[in-house]
């Protein structure tokens, strides 16, 4: 028999160990679990889609047969129930939901989809059915995490714009005073339609998008497609939405002439490329011309003989025209031959973004760390992108640490919302 008082040891440890009180994080943790299961389920649905194709065809035939030969099914469309707030109040279709002054308001749907209405924002659930859910963002910002389901349609109206969603995560804002729509994608894709967007604009990946209606005319919507617009001369905070410019718009190549028909950014330092999809835009022609010129000289010779400005222009032009490999080579040459010069500033961050976009997050993080170590002009963006990359890699604790660091150093930075979101999880 042991001479130790194990019972006494247990009693003391129970008194002296920290209590397991999640406190204010309780609801977040509960919601996090529900969302994680929904995401896993959605992933499972996608994986089994092909396998189930044949079965689905058989089922469709059966449904068709029932539709033709059986009596109509009773009842209307099947509702999609939802709960509101931390107290899980049952939601009501048509009700207006806004958070109290000091917090956000979660809305959880039966299918695992969630919405978080931000401070000073208001949203109405105008329709909630399993086949279709319609929301009206009356003012402010809301974050959406929609679980994809076959046949389910989600629509969000914001001012005169309509955002159609399948399965995706994003933040949407509507400022009635400035008539500005802001959209920040986190994953998936949406289709935005409205004034000036009659054909619909698809926004996907981690793009940001902004459109504004002003005094009887419609500003050309601005969108950012990868690679984004982080350039040393004009790091762009989200507030740039108010100028009609997307927070991460794509810059024209360094040294290329600005387009005559596009608005400038708030700083005026870099012209805005507001329509990446237009094949004949001045920016695109300029970018192609730069790449062509470099190719005529021979890329190898160009990289070893061009000036710092020329290398930077080639890097930007190549990135702009989707030549990621060439852009990377130019940036590496720039760093190797002209380290510490102004054209080389921010090159580590841009290499990180290229790696990120190329699906190499570990390499991206290394480059972001270099940008930070060099105290480069895009350190804030580098730290923000690093936390996103860590989060995507599932390194939640590391991402949280970076988020805390980010909020301490750049409390109003462009990635502050994501950092706050992560650090409070």
């Amino acid at each position: 028999m042991s001479g130790f008082d194990f019972e006494g040891l247990g009693r003391r440890l129970r008194e002296d160990l920290p209590v397991a009180d999640p406190g204010a994080r309780y609801s977040e943790q509960r919601l996090r679990l529900i969302q994680a299961v929904a995401r896993r389920r959605a992933g499972s649905v996608r994986r089994t889609t092909l396998v189930m194709g044949f079965a689905a065809a058989v089922a469709a035939a059966l449904v068709l047969w029932l539709g033709v030969f059986s009596p109509a099914l009773p009842g209307g469309p099947e509702p999609l129930a939802f709960e509101v707030g931390d107290t899980s109040e049952p939601g009501k279709v048509g009700a207006y939901y806004a958070p109290s002054a000091d917090g956000t308001l979660p809305i959880r749907f039966e299918d695992g989809s969630t919405i978080e209405v931000a401070k000073r924002s208001g949203l109405r659930v105008s329709r909630a059915e399993r086949g279709k859910t319609a929301l009206l963002l009356e003012t402010g910002t809301a974050s959406f995490d929609i679980v994809p389901r076959p046949g389910a349609v989600w629509e969000i109206a914001a001012g005169p714009y309509l955002v159609q969603v399948t399965g995706t995560a994003f933040a949407l804002s509507w400022d009635g005073a400035t008539r500005t729509l802001g959209l920040e994608m986190r994953s998936g894709s949406v289709l935005v339609s409205g004034p000036g967007l009659e054909g619909g604009h698809r926004v996907s990946g981690t793009e940001r998008f902004a459109a504004r209606v002003t005094a009887g005319r419609i500003d050309e919507p601005s969108r950012a497609a990868p690679p984004p617009a982080e350039v040393p001369e004009a790091p762009s905070p989200p507030a740039a939405v108010e100028t009609g410019r997307a927070p991460e718009s794509n810059p024209p190549p360094h040294g290329a002439p600005p387009a005559k028909n596009t608005p400038s950014s708030a700083t005026g330092a870099m012209p805005n490329h507001s329509d990446r999809g237009a094949p004949d835009s001045a920016q695109r022609r300029s970018a192609r011309a730069i790449v062509d010129a470099a190719e005529r000289r021979g890329i190898g010779a160009f990289l070893t003989s061009a000036s710092a400005d020329e290398l930077r222009a080639l890097a930007d032009a190549a990135r702009f025209t989707g030549r990621a490999g060439l852009s990377r080579r130019a940036l590496l040459a720039l760093r190797s031959r002209f380290a510490g010069t102004r054209p080389a500033a921010g090159s580590a961050f841009l290499l990180g973004r290229l790696a990120d976009d190329g699906g190499a997050p570990h390499e991206a993080i290394e480059w972001y760390d270099r940008e930070l170590a060099e105290s480069g002009p895009l350190a804030a963006e580098a730290l923000g992108r690093k936390l996103i990359a860590l989060h995507r890699l599932g390194r939640t604790n590391d991402a949280r640490a970076v988020a805390s660091d980010y909020l301490r150093r750049f409390p109003d930075g462009p990635y502050a919302p994501q950092a706050r979101d992560l650090s409070t999880r």
Binding site: D16, L17, A20, L33, S88, G94, N397
Partner: protein
């Protein structure tokens, strides 16, 4: 859980902003059978109820087994995700509690093994404890867990669950999916090991004896 009848009842005139309110989310029954059924269907309400019923138990168990609240939220999430993923293997819904505890034990044991490996390669940080705690108490608790760190993960889990969590031997056997005799044998081995390590430490002896 929405039953077909409530759906029909609820799904009538939902048009625009003036629609009738939907029927409130019906709660999953508080009995284990209904909860297990809801978890098998991965219904959000059932998941919420699982969290409500067991998060306190799971978190406490993880903290006491690991010795600190570090990462406990992630580990609790992992526990619940495994519970939901493996719920189809639970034959007897009345054994839900043991099932959840069993999963938490496995998660804790895996975490202990990972930490042990990290410690071995010098990557594991030493726990500092709470700054508000009495320094002697903090040091004593740290020494208890340093002693536990020198035990294998299974012995440690058995020891903590029996002596700190206060689980009965039969509960332990069920949760660990072993026989009562095996639990007794493991516990005796863990106690001997702990006594051998802690017996040489006067501070620990004083702590265990009630002094500080």
């Amino acid at each position: 859980m929405l039953t077909p009848s409530t759906r029909r009842h609820a799904g009538l005139t939902i048009t625009g902003r003036t629609a009738e309110p939907v029927v409130p989310l019906a709660r999953v029954g508080s009995d284990d059978a209904a909860l297990v059924e809801g978890l098998r269907a991965e219904r959000p309400q059932a998941i919420a109820e699982l969290f409500d019923r067991f998060s306190g138990v799971v978190r406490t168990m993880l903290i006491r087994t690991l010795g600190s609240p570090r990462d406990v939220e992630d580990l609790a999430q992992e526990t619940f995700l495994v519970v939901i993923r493996r719920i189809s293997t639970l034959r007897d819904s009345s054994a839900l509690s043991s099932f959840v505890i069993g999963v938490a034990i496995r998660v804790a044991r895996n975490e202990l093994r990972k930490r042990s490996l990290r410690r071995w390669v010098g990557l594991e940080e030493v726990e500092q404890g709470s700054a508000e705690q009495d320094p002697v108490v903090r040091e004593s608790v740290a020494r208890v867990y340093r002693a536990l760190d020198r035990m294998d993960a299974t012995s440690r889990v058995v020891f903590v669950l029996r002596h700190v969590e206060g689980l009965e031997l039969t509960e332990l056997a069920t949760a660990m999916d072993v026989s009562l005799a095996t639990v007794k044998r493991r516990l005796a081995r863990a106690e001997r090991r702990f006594e051998a390590i802690a017996g040489q430490d006067p501070l620990l002896r004083a702590y265990i004896g009630g002094g500080s």
